[in-house]
Symmetry: none
Subunit: 82 residues, 4 copies
Amino acid sequence: MNEGHNGVNGAQLQAFIDRIEKMEEEKSTIGADIRDIYAEARGTGFDPKIIRKVVALRKQEKSKRDEEAAMLDLYLAAISND
Amino acid sequence: MNEGHNGVNGAQLQAFIDRIEKMEEEKSTIGADIRDIYAEARGTGFDPKIIRKVVALRKQEKSKRDEEAAMLDLYLAAISND
Amino acid sequence: MNEGHNGVNGAQLQAFIDRIEKMEEEKSTIGADIRDIYAEARGTGFDPKIIRKVVALRKQEKSKRDEEAAMLDLYLAAISND
Amino acid sequence: MNEGHNGVNGAQLQAFIDRIEKMEEEKSTIGADIRDIYAEARGTGFDPKIIRKVVALRKQEKSKRDEEAAMLDLYLAAISND
DNA sequence: TCAGATAAAATCGCGC
DNA sequence: GCGCGATTTTATCTGA
């Protein structure tokens, strides 16, 4: 039911689009907030470019740590073959 | 005060980085949520590619309306050259 | 052959760089020409800011038309699922 | 003459816009060509990122040379106060 | 000098 | 599972 003559459930599609647009807007807002923080940092004398590098570096390190943790889990699972 | 021997206020920098990383994580979470919605839509038979196009198109329409409004402002400002 | 001791074909690299620099210069020249046109327009009483907005708006309209065409293609492809 | 009731010479404005759009398109074409060259270079084993660095470096050097030439002209003009 | 646009690189999901 | 294509993010560049 609820399908038009074209075989597409418009209401359902609309609902999906609404949800997506709402979240996209939130995402965009946060993006703006992040830009503001960089601007604020620049205002106190920090170079945003460098801060970006630092953040990127730490993200890499974090993902490396996550990977190692996952590997550890794998090993633990492997030796617990009871 | 609070500056190390290298002339950088480490505590302040740390604070900026913390704030940024926190928001980046939120942003990333929302991005994942959006992806989930697309996946859900696919699960109910919608083509994500088309939904993306619809969303993109609507965004463009909005931005065009904004541009037109900005344009109107410019015109109004231009004719009020007193 | 033609590779130096560092394993880099310098002549070939030079050729690429020459071509790029030549085109960059052309591009830069055109950019200057465009600026000249704006200056000329200002000289005859037009506000460059408004002209820029008009140009931007027309570009957006074109890209929106393109998007709509792409969208139509998607729809057509979607209903031809034989 | 040729001015509408709004005091704007539409034909002249149109002419400016046409000229600008034409040159913008040329500029865009050249930009695409440059991208193609980078792609071609990559195809023969060069790293585009490095090439970009080289090009940027040479441009800096060129502008530095230009600056020095301008300075020289200034000096020459200064001592030719006849 | 800085914001905004533009383009390149990295990332991620999808299909084979 | 991997390559391809699309999207997102980063960096460069131009104009105000």
